[in-house]
Amino acid sequence: MSTAITTADTQQELQAMHDDLTALTREVQRVIVGQDKVIRSVLTCLLAGGHGLLEGVPGLGKTLLIRTLASAVHLDFARIQFTPDLMPADIVGTSMLLQTEGDAGGRPVLQYQAGPIFANIVLADEINRATPKTQSALLEAMAEGTVTAGGQTRKLPNPFLVLATQNPLEMEGTYPLPEAQLDRFFFKMHVEFPAEDELIRILDRTTGHDVAEVHPVLDATRITQMRELVRAIPVTDSVTRYVVRVLRATHPDDARAPDMIKRYVRFGGSPRGAQAMLLGARIRCLLDRRMTPSVDDVRAVAAEALRHRVILNFEGEAEGISIDECLAKALAAVPEGGK
């Protein structure tokens, strides 16, 4: 393959990807009003192959957003409403004793009945309402892309994307996600309350007879292609170094960490946080029709990549310190191009 051909092909490929993503975004926005940043973040999760956790008060369209996205990408979609009595088998599936017919001679056999996890896009609605035992059933699926049940490990479909939601207000009868499971989420997105004009448009769109129809614009193959192209995006050393420095700055024992981090943070971001920042920056530059990420891209995705990976200490919790504020301090403490 000659470089000239590859360059032209790649340019076309980049252009096509941008067009597809633009079309996908347009389809989602036919249903979802506003929330552009969340839409971009969810798309980022889709292209990065990471899972997303959406946090917001009820009624902001979290579930609708994910359902719309699933409709627009022509992928299998499953929704699991997490409740305290939800069992792991309800998610990953179970082996059932079934009466066979025909050649089997009518003997009863154990047959595995796949759970809702076996879908391309899984909506784990109100994930913090399930017990830790049930939550942990997702752990293997999210990390390995496989499910082990009845002594057998089964591979999940590709692409596989878990988009979970949780309500930050209701603490009664909820089970906060453990750190290990939180770390499996690529991004943690805050769904903000819509602005006034957005609310007006929401009311217009949802209180009339017109119901917007969403048409699928992407399929699994195309998404896989796009995921490969994302990972081919070149990253400069300075950007990579910046990502590492930002991550280290979230650790209270790092010399470069700001005073706020040193005082209120118990643990900083994990290496998965750095991966999320770099991949997120790559996808962000592609969404903006650029071919290499910059430090600004890293800054833009740092909060969503790190806010669920940084853990406050008791003092920070007691004083109600915002993790986003700590992350902003860490970003400010790391100069662009510094050593």
Binding site: T10, P234, V239
Partner: protein, 648 residues
């Protein structure tokens, strides 16, 4: 097209941006740093020129910040990546230029699509570079003035109006003589002791032996050096000098107690003896040694001369003439310095003592005064009695020398008797020289300590007057060393049509001289006989009842007037019908002493004829100082005068 060739525009853009950044740096550093620094340096240099006498060429230092600032701007490293980031930020290019620069070479084994994207990135950056102007991103602006700039400007302006401290009114008459401003030659934090140069010269001469005065002289030199270097302060120097003075006083008391002959009489006799011996070649070496005060060398030289005379008839004739002349001069010396003068004074003092002792005042106050005068009179009688005894002893010694010389002259050359007489003469010379010299040296050391104390006390003085005094002295010192605009010409006097300068140390009170006065004259001193009408305020010792008290109260003058610009001198104030008569000095063959002195005053004191004349005069003064009871202040004055005019 290769990737490298595709980034030419980007490279050009970055190079232009770096140049622009250097220009901006230069503008900033010139305005913010170099200009205020130049003004501060200008202020400092102006102050140095006005107050410390720095050369005007030092003003070039003000220009130093300019090349330094330009060098900094030109050599300051500019990271290309940082420059690219600056352009990206300004043009909101999301680091596209910087990334293209950084992604110049893809890693080996990279995804072909990654390589392709890198190529695309660089092409895009290159295309962007063609449309960008670095001047928009990197502005060149002169920094706005701050209050520090105003302070620097005011400092430079204020320094401009600082008056020079060394305004030199004598500059026309000092042309050609290098006068170093005070403070420049002594940058160290010591004390300027330039005025002590003659004293140092005398002290170095004193150190040439192994006795108490030599050790004391060396100690004084060390103290002066330490003071000048700043190793000790004036208080410490004075303390050490006073300690030395006490030690010398003890040593002098011991010497005085051990002294049997009057050293002044002996010195005069030896001077005559030396002059007599110098007249003949065979004995000239012995005469020279006596003249130097080296008794050992004189004895050895006389012995050698005797042996030479024994071997050669011509030498013997010379020897006989020299000894006869010596005998004649010593006899004359003994006659001239008759001890009967002291005997008369002693008789008179004893008579007054007896008279005092007969008085019996009743009033207690008068009684105390009587006791004091009685005590003074007794001390004077004792002093005169001791002096009388010493003079008698010295006369006996001189008579013995005379007799030895006579007998040696009368005996036949090579005879044992002549040899014995010569040995006795040589031994007598040696002993007399030692006795005379030890007292002189001790007195010299004590005077030197006193003079050094005076210098140390005055060395703390400062101000324009003191600086002017030092400058004048340096000029005088330069002339004394013969380092003026031209060396003195041996024996060639100047007829005096040019301008000459007469340096007079004057304005003396009870203590040390505190100023030098420079009197411009017209250079005709050779021909005129000026009479100084104001030079009469010297010492006045009264006779009779006031004698004892008069010494302490009346010695205030220096005997040296202020000089007169009239070569004929000021007219007499006496109510008499006087007529000023100009008398020309008689010119004979050769060079007169007047010519030598005038030539030296104009061209320096380093010539050999001047040196000889000086030594003759100084020896005469020294013998007077040694023989008479001079007050110490006056003795120091005379010695200092001779130190000042000493050729070096």
């Amino acid at each position: 097209m290769t990737a490298a060739s595709r980034t030419k525009s980007l490279d050009r853009l970055l190079a232009a941006a770096v140049r622009r950044a250097r220009l901006a740096d230069a503008a900033w550093v010139l305005g913010r740093v170099a200009l205020p620094a130049a003004m501060v340096i200008a202020a400092a240099v102006l102050l140095a020129i006005r107050r410390l006498g720095a050369p005007p060429v030092a003003l070039w230092l003000c220009a130093l910040p300019l090349p330094a600032a330009l060098a900094w701007a030109g050599l300051r490293p500019h990271a290309i990546r940082r420059v690219a980031r600056r352009l990206d930020t300004h043009f909101r290019l999301d680091d596209q230029l910087g990334a293209a620069l950084e992604l110049s070479a893809p890693r080996p084994g990279a995804d072909p699509r990654t390589v392709a994207i890198i190529t695309l990135v660089r092409e895009r950056a290159d295309a962007l570079a063609q449309t960008l102007d670095p001047a928009a991103a990197i502005g060149v602006r002169v920094p706005t003035p701050r209050w520090t700039d105003a302070v620097a400007a005011l400092a430079a302006l204020a320094a401009w109006f600082v008056p020079p401290v060394h305004a030199d009114p004598l500059a026309p008459s000092l042309s050609g003589v290098a006068i170093e401003p005070v403070g420049r030659t002594h940058a160290k934090a010591g004390i300027d002791l330039a005025l002590a140069a003659p004293l140092r010269q005398s002290l170095k001469e004193l150190t040439g032996a192994k006795d108490d005065p030599a050790a004391a002289a060396q100690e004084i030199l060390d103290i002066l050096d330490a003071l000048e270097r700043g190793d000790i302060d004036r208080a410490a120097a004075l303390e050490r000098l006073e300690e030395l003075e006490r030690e010398l006083a003890d040593a002098d008391a011991e010497l005085d107690a051990a002294l049997r002959e009057d050293p002044a009489l002996l010195a005069e006799a030896l001077d005559e003896l030396g002059n007599a011996l110098q007249q003949e070649e065979v004995t000239s070496e012995a005469g020279d040694a006596l003249d130097r005060g080296d008794g050992d060398a004189a004895e050895a030289a006389l012995t050698a001369a005797g042996e030479e005379a024994a071997a050669d008839a011509a030498s013997d004739a010379q020897m006989q003439r020299a000894l006869a002349e010596a005998e004649r001069r010593l006899a004359k010396q003994n006659d001239a310095r008759d001890a009967s003068e002291t005997a008369k004074q002693l008789d008179e003092a004893e008579r007054r003592l007896r008279g005092e002792e007969k008085q019996k005042p009743e009033d207690p106050e008068a009684k105390a005064e009587h006791e004091r005068r009685l005590e003074q009179q007794r001390e004077r009688v004792e002093t005169l009695a001791r002096q009388h005894e010493r003079e008698l002893a010295a006369q006996r010694k001189v008579e013995e020398l005379r007799r030895n010389a006579k007998q040696a002259a009368q005996n036949k050359a090579g005879s044992a008797e002549r040899k014995r007489q010569l040995e006795k003469l040589g031994r007598g010379m040696k002993e007399a020289s030692k006795s005379a010299r030890s007292s002189q040296r001790m007195q010299g050391a004590q005077d030197a300590v006193e003079e050094a104390k005076s210098f140390v006390r005055r060395s703390g003085q400062s101000g324009a007057g003191e600086d002017t005094r030092r400058q004048q002295f340096r000029k005088f010192d330069t002339a004394a060393k013969g380092q003026g605009q031209q060396q003195g010409k041996d024996g060639k006097g100047n007829d005096g049509k040019g301008k000459s300068t007469l340096l007079v140390e004057g304005k003396l009170g009870d203590g040390e001289p505190d100023g030098m006065m420079e009197m411009p004259g017209d250079g005709q001193g050779q021909d005129g006989q000026g009479q100084d009408g104001q030079g009469q305020d010297g010492e006045s010792d009264g006779d009779g009842q006031g004698q004892g008290q008069g010494q302490g109260n009346a010695a205030s003058g220096d005997g040296m007037g202020d000089g007169s610009q009239d070569p004929l001198g000021d007219p007499s104030r006496m109510a008499a019908g006087t007529t000023d008569v100009r008398v020309d000095a008689r010119r004979g063959r050769g060079v007169s002493k007047a010519e030598i002195l005038q030539d030296a005053s104009q061209h320096g004191f380093a010539t050999e004829p001047y040196r000889r004349t000086y030594e003759e005069y100084r020896d005469h003064a020294q013998s007077t100082l040694d023989s008479d009871a001079f007050p110490s202040a006056q003795r120091r004055l005379v010695k200092r005068y001779y130190q000042m005019i000493q050729g070096r």
